[in-house]
């Protein structure tokens, strides 16, 4: 891949350091807004809910799970593209990954953090959440490892650890590059973060191997994480949840919404961090193709779900499918089909894939659709179970909607902090995609502004 215009190695360093150090008022205003939305819409209602009980949300007797769990799955799903995609592209040596993988991995990390917070919001007694962690304790009680929720605890802990390490390890050389160009507290921070990276052949060799091993370990991990999330549902015997297709369905859905999320983040980075030369039409084109394929797989599984429900011939499965398609929540269902199955077909056209604003709108629409999908999985299935006497309808309360919005603000806040600490595009890997410097030429712009310290 070649950038649109000739970029020198020094330009890359300068642009990335500038994105970290030069902070405009626009950034501070955005940060202030997102922090206040997070405090007002997430933490305030949550504290109210902690005081009052889960009753602050709209859940009721048949539908004991609600938007909190839907949000949890949504955020876990959003986390699925970043690190997973980055690993797959790393192993397959796709160079177009290099401009976008850092922020995609950051997306993984932050959506996982938000997902974990959503679990805390979801719990009836979150102050005892540590009981689900296996640690030796005075009660000599251990968690129940037979529970799919315990698989979740283990898988998400592993995934969070793995993606944190993966993004950090890939950034060490960049921390070192930024360390040399910054002063003050930033310099001290980067000195610590870079671990004393120099860039010797031995260090590159070790980093290359460690990075590849991590990528190889993380791919099966990421697939297992969303399979396990799907087993929270599929291991129950609730009609329409108890399905073997659920694990691949969730994995595909997760990668789908995650890739759409990457498109959104790429657009924002490109526009507001001035990375026009690094994030190009090529990236949107490739991501668009990927999204198109994922949307087709996703649609296929959805059709299959209806087919198997109908084919099973059991009254409960049949009712669950009927209720999903034509019941109380039917408008949401058809909205989901429109956003996630029909609209993405536009990406067949290359002109659509390479135009930035339509791709942004589509990517947001896909994620709205995918949130709806998760909500419907919880709401339609739980409100139509075996005993018709216990059927009911669940409508989210204001507290739930507010927390939903607040969790988005939390994600934005974390991301805004990230772009000022982590080089949000990879310096050394962008350089690898540039043409190698020719011997015996004077570098024009890269004159050193620093004094050697040794």
């Amino acid at each position: 891949m070649q950038a649109e215009r000739d970029i020198s190695y020094a330009d890359v360093n300068r642009d990335v350091v500038r994105s970290l150090v030069e902070t405009g008022s626009k950034y501070y205003i955005t940060l202030a807004i997102s922090v206040s939305v997070m405090l007002a819409c997430f933490f305030a209602p949550w504290f109210y809910q902690l005081q009052y009980g889960i009753g602050a949300a709209g859940m009721n007797h048949p539908t004991v799970w609600g938007t909190y769990l839907a949000s949890f799955i949504f955020w876990i799903g959003l986390s699925h593209s970043g690190t997973l995609l980055s690993c797959v592209l790393h192993i397959t040596n796709s160079s177009w990954r290099k401009a976008m993988y850092r922020s995609a991995e950051a997306m993984t990390l932050f959506s996982l953090m938000v997902a974990v917070t959503m679990v805390m919001v979801h719990l009836g007694r979150p102050w005892f959440i540590h009981w689900a962690v296996p640690y030796p304790n005075q009660m000599e009680l251990w968690p129940n490892f037979r529970s799919p929720l315990m698989f979740d605890v283990m898988a998400i802990t592993t995934y969070l650890t793995g993606s944190t390490i993966f993004i950090y390890m890939g950034t060490i050389p960049d921390f070192a590059a930024v360390r040399d160009r910054t002063t003050g507290w930033r310099h001290h921070m980067y000195v610590l973060l870079s671990l004393g990276w120099r860039g010797t052949d031995t260090e590159w060799h070790r980093l290359g191997w460690a990075y590849t091993f991590l990528a190889v370990l993380i791919i099966p991990l990421a697939v297992s994480v969303h399979s396990i999330v799907s087993w929270d549902f599929a291991l129950s015997i609730v009609p329409a949840l108890h399905q073997t297709i659920f694990a691949p369905y969730f994995v595909v859905g997760a990668i789908y919404s995650g890739t759409a999320g990457i498109v959104t983040v790429m657009f924002v980075l490109r526009k507001y961090m001035n990375f026009e030369h690094y994030i190009t039409k090529l990236h949107f084109d490739n991501l668009g193709k990927l999204l198109l394929v994922l949307s087709l797989i996703w649609t296929y599984i959805n059709v299959l779900e209806i087919f198997t429900g109908w084919y099973s011939g059991t009254s409960t499965e049949y009712e669950a499918i009927r209720y999903k398609l034509f019941g109380y929540y039917a408008p949401l269902y058809w909205e989901m089909i429109l956003f996630c199955a029909v609209a993405p077909l536009l990406m067949i056209s290359k002109r659509f894939r390479t135009s930035f604003v339509p791709m942004l709108i589509l990517s947001i629409a896909i994620n709205i659709g995918m949130y709806t999908e998760r909500f419907l999985i919880v709401a339609t299935s739980l409100s139509r179970q075996y005993l018709p006497d216990a059927w009911g309808i669940y409508v989210p309360s204001l507290v739930e909607i507010s927390i939903m919005v607040g969790s988005l603000a939390m994600f934005v806040t974390l991301f805004l902090i990230f772009v000022k600490i982590f080089p949000s595009i990879s310096i050394y890997e962008i350089k690898e995609t540039l043409p190698e410097p020719e011997p015996k030429t004077q570098s024009e712009s890269g004159a050193p502004e620093w004094q050697p310290t040794l």
Binding site: M154, T161, A210, P452, L454
Partner: protein, 170 residues
């Protein structure tokens, strides 16, 4: 007192050539500092072997044993019969085993990386800040002035645009 003679190059090709010549002249402690990983470096400086894969393998193996004994052991320590299942329930415990294998594999890889690349650096090492931007640096450890001079000659004739002498504390 041992010093390092370093030569700064504009292009990876010339830096690699210089490193090759130094190696040929008997300078064993030659290394290249570069802003990007150089794929030709191993050809010039000799094959490298890292212990990371062993760390990953044994970490994963440990995780596998640990994961299963965590699940099965804790189930036996405090009996909670549930859902008509046995106390040691294999399919769920294998999932825990799987996750712990990966977790320990990842952690061991990190430890392997830190150990084999000697991180974090607790003292100052030979470093050229330009190497993080666009310079390819060949660094060679010389035991005395005589070696210094020879190394400098080789570097200059290979096209180094600047030569520095750096001291590394041992």
């Amino acid at each position: 007192m041992a010093t390092n003679t370093v030569g700064l190059f504009d292009a990876p090709a010339t830096a690699l050539a210089a490193a090759g010549e130094l190696k040929g002249a008997g300078f064993d402690a030659t290394s290249i500092i570069s802003p990007i990983p150089l794929h030709g470096a191993e050809k010039v400086l000799g094959e490298k072997k890292s212990a990371i894969k062993r760390f990953t393998f044994f970490g994963g193996l440990f995780g596998m044993l640990f994961g299963f004994s965590l699940a099965a052991g804790t189930a036996v320590l405090y009996l909670h019969p549930t859902g008509g299942r046995p106390i040691i329930t294999l399919p769920p415990f294998l999932i825990i085993t799987y996750e712990m294998t990966i977790l320990c594999g990842i952690l061991a890889t990190v430890i392997g990386f830190l150990v084999s690349a000697r991180f974090p650096a607790m003292r100052e090492r030979v470093y050229v800040p330009e190497a993080a931007v666009d310079k390819f640096v060949v660094s060679v450890l010389c035991s005395d002035d005589e070696h210094d001079r020879r190394a400098e000659e080789i570097l200059r004739s290979a096209g180094a645009e600047e030569i520095r002498r750096l001291r590394e504390e041992d």
